[in-house]
């Protein structure tokens, strides 16, 4: 079955008593039991029952099962946001003194989570050039627990050679964690490329038009958790279910980043049209990138779908013709960038990606505003950069708006 067929016809775990075609929204905090013995068994994990919505909920569970059904993953945990997905994953796999290897090109809030939030608690973050896997190897030691990367970094649009990263991770028995937010599910099969864990923002393409905030943790079931000292005891009892058990019975439960049932409902419906929206937005992005690349007022255009991108070959090998819906371009100055943004009539000035609407932003003065200029330079976020997250509007209307906004 194809992606969209599976997304639309994913089965329910339990038959709905009224024959509902959509999993209803179970907007209830708590669920009752017939007997004290049943509730005891449920608390001990010996009976599959929902007890309390912070921990599990039928509507949220349906979203998890739907993603599992589509992706073929071992287990899926839906959480309140993409940042919660990343935080819960790191809190589960590492302890004080451990380190993870990533790139300075990670999303601004992810960088802040690693450096400002988890760093002071004892997680060390090491930065490599992920386009050169040998730079990862030089950083690995016996406290390294994972390599973390984004499939397409935002806003640098660097595309990692995932198979090369996987080879390094396998060699050193490290967990390979991919943030697949801009290339979720439909774009590629992460398991085939050696990714162990996916974290992603369901807020973006999954939610179906930026309706709700959410995050997803996908465990492909490919990592042997006995290689992680923090989890080796659990691994003896739970085998491939080690991470999901750690999350559900400790970290996710205790940190409280649960997804609201109403959000899960909307995201479950959003999944059904993900492929249609992804195809349309990628086609629009490619056309706009080609158009901007010919425009003399534009200094530089960056999109992995363009042959001029350093990462075009790698991106094509992983994602085929769908290289995402983010593109960036440089104008002559920050002033020119602001003038462009202020002239836009159709495209919205907003910080989000993969909405149905096309959105534009100046990353340096917004998402990365808290960092000094030198760090922004290292992060690949110059003052001249404009980011477009291309939506699914009619292409001619988008092109006309960009054209008039670039005008004098």
């Amino acid at each position: 079955m194809g992606f969209t067929t599976r997304a639309i016809h994913a089965p329910f775990l339990r038959k709905d008593p009224h024959g509902s075609l959509h999993m209803p929204i179970y907007e209830s905090v708590s669920f009752e039991f017939e007997t004290a013995e049943e509730i005891e068994e449920a608390f001990l994990g010996k009976r599959p029952r929902h007890m309390y919505t912070r921990i599990s909920n039928p509507t949220v569970e349906h979203l998890e099962q739907k993603i599992k059904y589509i992706s073929g993953a071992l287990a899926v945990v839906a959480v309140s946001s993409g940042m919660a997905a990343i935080a819960d994953t790191f809190l589960s796999i590492a302890r004080q003194g451990d380190n993870v290897i990533t790139t300075k090109y990670v999303f601004g809030n992810t960088y802040s989570l690693l450096e400002k939030t988890l760093g002071p608690w004892g997680l060390e973050v090491r930065y490599a050039d992920l386009s050169r896997p040998d730079t990862i190897e030089a950083l690995v030691d016996d406290r390294t627990r994972a390599v973390f990367f984004e499939t397409i970094t935002n806003p640098q649009l660097e595309v990692a050679d995932i198979r090369a990263l996987s080879a390094v991770a396998r060699k050193h028995r490290l967990l390979l964690i991919a943030d697949t937010t801009v290339t979720p599910l439909y774009f590629f099969q992460s398991k085939d490329f050696g990714v162990d864990i996916e974290v992603l923002l369901s807020t973006k393409l999954i939610s179906g038009g930026a309706t709700t905030v959410g995050g997803i943790i996908i465990d492909n079931g490919t990592y042997d958790w006995r290689h992680n000292p923090k989890l080796e005891q659990e691994a003896r009892r739970y085998g491939p279910f080690t991470l999901v058990t750690k999350l559900k019975r400790e970290v996710f439960r205790n940190t409280g980043g649960c997804l609201a049932p109403h959000s899960a409902y909307l995201q479950s419906i959003g999944l059904e049209t993900l492929a249609l929206r992804a195809d349309r937005s990628c086609e629009n992005t490619m056309a706009i990138a080609r158009h901007l690349a010919q425009d003399p007022r534009v200094q530089r255009v960056n999109y992995p779908g363009l042959e001029t991108s350093l990462y075009h070959g790698v991106a094509k090998g992983i994602f085929g013709e769908r290289c995402g819906a983010l593109l960036t371009f440089d104008l002559a100055s920050k002033k020119d960038g602001f003038a462009f943004l202020n002239k836009l009539k159709l495209i919205r000035r907003a910080t989000n990606i993969n909405d149905n609407k096309t959105l534009a932003i100046h990353p340096s003065s917004t998402i990365f505003c808290e960092y000094p200029d030198e760090l922004k330079r290292q992060m690949g976020v110059p003052d001249t950069l404009i980011r477009l997250s291309v939506g699914i509007e009619d292409l001619e209307d988008l092109q006309a708006d960009i054209e008039q906004a670039l005008g004098a």
Binding site: S30, A42, G45, K46, Y52, I55, R236, R237, F241, K248
Partner: protein, 68 residues
Amino acid sequence: MKIKVNGAVQEIETRLSVADLLVRNNVEQPELVSVQLNGEFVQRDRCSAMMLKENDEVDFLYFMGGGA
């Protein structure tokens, strides 16, 4: 022979595999359960070949459990 299933003693017939025990106990949603034999995880594809012995302890555990 006697074994323990989720902490409770059960009298079972001989020549029973872990997979048979899942069926015998009407384990709900077996795709969501992790099976442990004497405290060790049992791979799903080994459940049919793994035969139970006197005094074995088998636990069926779901990862949705909580504590609110």
